[in-house]
C-alpha cells in the first residue's frame, strides 16, 4: 500500500529578536551604573594576598611601576582619586602632594599601587613620604591569592 507523501513543513529558521533591545538596554544600564573612571591606568602585576579589604572610592593613588628598560628609572605617578594620575620625579614631590591632600582632608586615605617586582626601597621611600605627611590610613593594592598561587 502506497503512502501519500505530503509536503513536510519546515520550521522557519528565525531568531526571535524582539527582546534584544530590552536586553541591550539592561546591559547599558548595568554598564552606566558600574562605570568607574580608573584614575591610574598603569599596567602592572600586583602582588597576591589572602587578606583584602575594599579601598575607599575617592582615595588618593600612588602608583610605582617598573620601567620597560632596566636602566630607566621607575615610574611614580600620583592621583588625588578624582583626577587622572600625573608622573612625579622625586620623593619630595610625593611629600608635597600628600601634604596638600592631608591639609585638605586629614582623614584622606592613600592607595599604594606597586608592581610586585619593584625593589622595596622605592616603596619604602613612598611610605616614608606618606608618614612625613601625617597620612593615617594606607591601602596596599593587591590581587586575590588563590590556592594555585
Amino acid at each position: 500500500m502506497g503512502l501519500i507523501r505530503g509536503r513536510e513543513r519546515k520550521p522557519a529558521g528565525q531568531i526571535f529578536t524582539a527582546s534584544m533591545a530590552d536586553i541591550v538596554f539592561l546591559l547599558l544600564v548595568f554598564f552606566i551604573v558600574t562605570y568607574k573612571v580608573e584614575v591610574d591606568r598603569t599596567k602592572m602585576d600586583l602582588p597576591d594576598t589572602w587578606i583584602r579589604s575594599k579601598v575607599p572610592e575617592k582615595a588618593a593613588v600612588i602608583s610605582i611601576a617598573p620601567p620597560d628598560d632596566i636602566t630607566a628609572p621607575l615610574t611614580v605617578r600620583v592621583s588625588t582619586g578624582e583626577e587622572m594620575s600625573l608622573p612625579v620625579s622625586t620623593t619630595e614631590e610625593v611629600v608635597t602632594f600628600a601634604s596638600t591632600e592631608v591639609a585638605r582632608d586629614p582623614n584622606k586615605e592613600f592607595i599604594i599601587k606597586a608592581d610586585e617586582q619593584v625593589p622595596y626601597e622605592h616603596v619604602d621611600a613612598v611610605l616614608d613620604a606618606l608618614k612625613q605627611s601625617k597620612v593615617k590610613n594606607i591601602y596596599l593594592l593587591s590581587e586575590q591569592k588563590t590556592v594555585k598561587d
Binding site: A21, L28, Y35, E116, P119, L140, K145
Partner: protein
C-alpha cells in the same frame, strides 16, 4: 476654495535606537575598568619621628633579598613564621611585630610576609571564629595586636639614637 491640510505624523523614529544602544554598550564595555579595588590596609602611627617600639621588646621579622626571612635574627621558612610568633605571644600577647624589609628585596616579598602576618586571625581561629589558642593567663589569642612597618629613615634614626652606626 478649500485647501487640504497635510497631516504631520507625530512619531519618533525608533528604528535606530537599538544601534545607538549597541554603540553605547560597546563604549562602556571598552572604557569601563574592572580594576583591582581591594588591598591590604594598615593604619600609620600618629607620631612618626620616634618609633615607640623597642626592638628588644618585639618580634623582629626581617625580609631579606630573595624573599627569605629572618625572625629575631634566625633564618626561618615563611611557614614557620606564625608558629614562632604564636609561641612568643603566648608569653606576652601584646608583643608587637616589627616588619623590616631589605631595600633590595622586592615589594612582592614584603607583601607575602605581611599577608602571612595578617592571616594570623584566620589561622588561630576555628571555622566559627572561636580562638584556638590561649595565652599563659588563659585569655584567647586571636591576632597579632601590632604590626609595625618602620621605614629605613626611622630605623636609621633609632639606631643613631641608640648610638649604633
Amino acid at each position: 476654495m478649500r485647501i487640504k491640510k497635510k497631516e504631520v505624523q507625530s512619531e519618533i523614529f525608533t528604528g535606530s535606537m537599538a544601534d545607538i544602544s549597541f554603540l553605547l554598550i560597546i563604549f562602556f564595555m571598552i572604557t569601563s575598568a574592572f580594576s583591582a579595588d581591594r588591598g591590604l590596609d594598615f593604619a600609620l602611627p600618629e607620631d612618626t619621628d620616634t618609633p615607640e617600639i623597642k626592638q628588644e621588646d618585639s618580634i623582629d621579622v626581617h625580609v631579606l633579598r630573595g624573599g627569605a626571612i629572618e625572625i629575631d635574627g634566625a633564618g626561618t621558612p615563611l611557614e614557620g613564621l606564625l608558629p614562632y610568633i604564636l609561641d612568643k605571644l603566648k608569653q606576652n600577647p601584646e608583643k608587637p611585630v616589627i616588619l623590616r624589609t631589605d631595600p633590595d628585596a622586592t615589594y612582592g616579598d614584603m607583601i607575602r610576609t605581611f599577608d602571612t602576618l595578617r592571616t594570623a586571625k584566620i589561622e588561630w581561629s576555628d571555622a566559627d571564629g572561636r580562638p584556638l589558642h590561649m595565652d599563659v593567663h588563659g585569655k584567647p589569642l586571636i591576632e597579632i595586636q601590632t604590626i609595625s612597618i618602620p621605614t629605613r629613615r626611622e630605623i636609621e634614626n633609632l639606631w643613631s639614637m641608640l648610638g649604633i652606626q
